[in-house]
Point group: C3
């Protein structure tokens, strides 16, 4: 589980930075920063562990994760004003966090020998739910559901890549590395070059309640 | 658990359709459709299983559920433009999903010989939470809390009917069928004939922050 | 666990009152009141129990909790119109519920001999998440994240006080009492005298998507 633990640490750190940036957009105080950062950082992995009945939940068994998230929030609180566009930092850091968390999630499921569909779903859960909680709690438009941007798709592709690599008996580190790279590459392409899937086009919903 | 498993399959399918319809109103892409559909389809049952410490969670143990939900989303993605009023389809499909899920939830709790209050609460949880997650994530007005419409009430009544039928030692299929029918009938009556409970009337909250 | 159980009962009761008050602001019907009241009342403690793999979840093992929450909702439904400012009642009752729930959460974690960080986090989880669910579901501005008000901070302080008192081998009741008092005192000071931490000041986020 060594590689997976490392990925969990990394995704906690980066997701915490995104949470703190969202907190800065909501102009919260220091503790509010830490709260949103921790929620974002451990949210996805927590749901993954609960779904897989994996106890203790990763951060309950190893509180260091939470300390890292809180420290990241502290750092952002005092430095966020230095960056030109916090929103750009947010979406790019989020793209890294997504990629790392997807790898971590698939890694856990692969270590537990779960069936392919579950491996993919755990990758997507770990990758997407922390950010989703962050955005729902802070009333941001969830990045997960932002129109015409690839997000869940990147998590899906990354998880599938991990599956295939694992089936080729590649070493775990390679497997998870490929998963993270493919996920991040796709997300970056979507942000930079507007790669996207066709979205559903509807008439203006007159019928919207 | 046969009848209950069947109900779980049915509610997953129908809830997935409602999730995909909401995704179409949010103009998401294909993967976004699948994401919202799966969240809606398994959300309520997942909370039920976690609360009852029932592992593996129903769809983790049997990934077919998720495949069904994703396929339903795919179908809606390509056909939703054909329907005149997606919102009407949404509320009516949701009413069926609610009724089926309530029956499934009470069925599980009855099979586990839980006390009456828990049986009722599991029926309401399974029935209401998937749709609630769908609406919160997609920024819709939660159907659960729509003013002056019976929704949670239908789940409550359906669950209580299941309790009574079970106490009469009716066969499980009859018990759950009656629960679903009473729940759906009440919801349909509320939608068609405006059946409702008195709502709380307040002065305009000047004091609202 | 006696003192802790008492605190759980008390926080369930008071949180249920706040949930019902929010339901009254959303003009729901009687069952809607009960639904929001129960969600608010058991939300935080449920997450705590799931995270600690503590089964049965407190209200699943002892349904009385839910009966209490529903009765509180019933009472509010018929009496809320009598109060002058429901919002003031809401924030003050919420401050009591927060303090009691923080004590209950830390109490559980201390009884299970969890490490200090986890004790603090369980206090904050139990205290903050019920109200957060209430506000997210009902589209209120989450009290947890209200700008320039101490809220999460109070939960943090209360939990830390419990830790210190426990380290001094004070009796459990004293320990939890001090936790609740310090948490509530801080929250009250923030509401009455505007005590607060410096919030993050940002330029108007032109870059907000």
């Amino acid at each position: 589980m060594n590689a997976v633990a490392l990925l969990d640490y990394a995704s906690v750190l980066v997701f915490a930075l995104t949470g703190a940036l969202v907190a800065s957009r909501a102009q919260l105080d220091l503790v509010g920063f830490a709260f949103v950062a921790c929620l974002t950082a451990v949210g996805g992995g927590t749901v993954r562990d609960l779904l897989l009945d994996r106890h203790p939940v990763f951060w309950v068994g190893e509180p260091t994760y939470v300390v890292i998230a809180a420290s990241a929030a502290l750092m952002v609180f005092f430095t966020a004003h230095l960056v030109e566009s916090r929103y750009n930092w947010l979406i790019w850091l989020d793209s890294f966090a997504l990629a790392i968390a997807v790898a971590a999630g698939t890694g856990v499921a692969l270590t537990l020998d779960k069936p392919p569909v579950i491996v993919v779903l755990m990758g997507m859960t770990t990758g997407c739910l922390g950010g989703l909680m962050r955005d729902v709690v802070c009333n941001e438009i969830p990045l997960v559901l932002k129109q015409g941007e690839l997000y869940v798709t990147c998590a899906l592709v990354g998880s599938c890549v991990a599956l295939v690599a694992h089936a080729q008996d590649l070493p775990q580190l390679t497997t998870l590395g490929l998963a993270a790279l493919s996920c991040w590459g796709l997300r970056a392409g979507s942000l930079l070059f507007g790669w996207r899937l066709p979205v559903y086009k509807s008439r203006p919903p007159r019928d919207r309640s």
